[in-house]
């Protein structure tokens, strides 16, 4: 059984940040216990941790890196998709899309391979959920579904009354990682080529299924994660249809720990905030959407989107 991360009381406030980190991460070793294809270009990665971290909350992420090489050097941020702690140890699961050097090497890891893991980091979706929340609508594009897997499991603990719907879009059926969602009810799928579910983008599906938002007394909250163009379009919808939108950003990060200021993102007041501590989950109202997309600042997200 893994030993628990030492927890010491600290009165110090994160100096230039009003948000206290949601939790204290710990650094540990993660041994690959399962790795499997989850869809075209997407795989499921499950690690057994040798330390027991604080329990992660949906929307939080881990920094995952290689111990046996310095190329790639930096740890990669990955949303926590599952977490189980038992008497025999603890396991964390990720859904990973192969994008570049780091994720490609991750995909080639075999059982027994040991990775560096710093976990859990950042703000969670859960702090945006009240106990009286009746409906949570998660909107996910591509591998942005990863945090929603954990959200689907945790939401019942936080708001037992809430129903949870997942609107999940991908380019094609092959790219859907449905097997790992742990969901059957309340799943609405969109594919751009119509090979499964609604034909079109997931934002179009949101528009089409707008009725879902209006039920449950109008108190539905939309949580979203996916490519920047999707989030941008969703925000437009939120403004038009006046629903609450909370988004998670996958912008590039250096350390994920608040040390380097490498994850700066401009907020509505024109101030740079650290996405790794203030985010990745943020209220859409705090975001300066026009600047974000105009200035191409989240180019790291692989976004070639130019707003019209």
């Amino acid at each position: 059984m893994p030993t628990s991360c030492s927890s010491r009381t600290s009165t110090a406030l994160s100096p230039d940040l009003s948000v206290r980190p949601a939790s204290s991460p710990c650094q540990t070793e993660g041994e690959v216990v399962a790795i499997a294809q989850a869809g075209a270009g997407i795989f499921w990665l499950e690690l057994a941790l040798s330390l027991l971290p604080m329990s992660p909350m949906a929307g939080q992420f881990a920094m995952v890196g290689f111990k046996d090489t310095q190329d790639p050097l930096l740890n990669r941020p990955l949303s926590i998709a599952s977490f189980e702690a038992g008497s025999t140890g603890c396991r964390v699961g990720f859904l990973v899309a192969i994008r570049g050097k780091g994720t490609r090497r991750l995909a080639e890891a075999r059982q027994g391979h040991k990775l560096r893991v710093i976990i859990p980091m950042g703000q969670s979706f859960l702090r945006h959920v009240g106990p009286d929340q009746r409906r949570i609508i998660a909107v996910a594009g591509g591998v942005g579904v990863a945090p929603m897997v954990l959200l689907g499991r945790q939401i019942k603990q936080v708001s037992p009354e809430a129903d949870f719907l997942l609107l999940y879009g991908a380019k094609t059926k092959a790219e859907l990682a449905k097997r790992h969602l742990g969901l059957t009810d309340g799943l609405y799928v969109a594919t751009e080529d119509g090979s499964e579910g609604f034909k079109g983008r997931v934002t179009e599906l949101v528009e089409a299924e707008r009725a879902l938002l209006l039920q449950a007394g109008g108190s539905a909250k939309v949580f979203a994660c996916g490519p920047l163009p999707m989030l941008y379009a969703l925000n437009k919808l939120a403004e038009r249809h006046r629903f609450d939108l909370v988004v998670s950003f996958e912008g590039p990060m250096g350390c994920g720990m608040g040390f380097c200021l490498g994850c700066a993102m401009e907020n509505r007041e024109g101030m740079y905030v650290k996405l790794c501590q203030k985010g990745p989950v943020m209220d859409a109202k705090e975001v300066d959407w026009e600047r974000l997309t105009r200035s191409d600042e989240l180019r790291g997200a692989g976004c070639d989107f130019k707003p019209a």
Binding site: R8, A12, D16, S24, Q70, C255, M257, F259
Partner: protein, 303 residues
Amino acid sequence: MTSNRLEVTFLGKTIKNPIVAASGCYGYGLEQPELLPPEAFGAITLKGLSATPKRGNPPPRIAETPCGMLNSIGLENVGIEAFAKNTWPHLRGLGVPIIANFFGDDETEFQKAAQMLSDLEGLFAMELNLSCPNKPQWGRILASDPKVASRLVRLIKPLCRYPLIVKLSPNVASISEVAKACEDSGADALSLINTLLGMAIDVDAKSSRLGTRFGGLSGPSIYPIALRMVSEVSRAVRIPIVGMGGVSSPEDAIGMMLAGASLVGVGTLLLVNPFGVEEIKQGMLAYLDRHGLEKVACLQGRL
């Protein structure tokens, strides 16, 4: 007790181990008190501070490169006033020697920053950053010209209540020339190296992978250059050296000391492997045992 085997003396003070957090890679020292406690370090260098707050550069600010990374943070900081009010009170009490890294956009701002930091109680030292590669405001990297560096050190040294460490740039033809100029102008110690000016291109977007055109290269890839420069400078000057640049293992840290460093800075390592600080300290102790040495201080300049 094994722990005092790592003790070193630096600027007249006993430091409990030679590992120093490099500026900009450990924030203001309070970001992760549990993951990487400030007490792990012999001393902590803070993110660069200036008299007035600075916004820094537009994102993206980080691009990975082979065994290294580029950053173009651009010295974003809250300004010394806000720091003094909100952060310093929390930091002071920790008992870890604090080095305040500072800069200005022009000479007056440099002087102002030096004065403001001198007003703080309980600093260990001040580190003058003449070597940031992300300051177009400077026209050039100040520490790349011995005359410019010398002029600034002379201007600033008299304003400093605490020992003055001058941080040198690797973007020079002869770093020992600059080092000597700084020593002659009154620097109490030197720290080197800052980042190397570099660039990364997104070939599909046909643009820089950073929000700026260039950035500063750090991490393991630059270690051989840093080590050479520390070795060179340690033969050229008599003031002590904080050696840094790419240190990521016990062997790297030991190498820096053998090459002449009194303290060893770690920057990028902290962004990647916070536990590396502990690994380095343990590895140093193991090395001392293996070589029958009493103290890590014995290593210094033994090459």
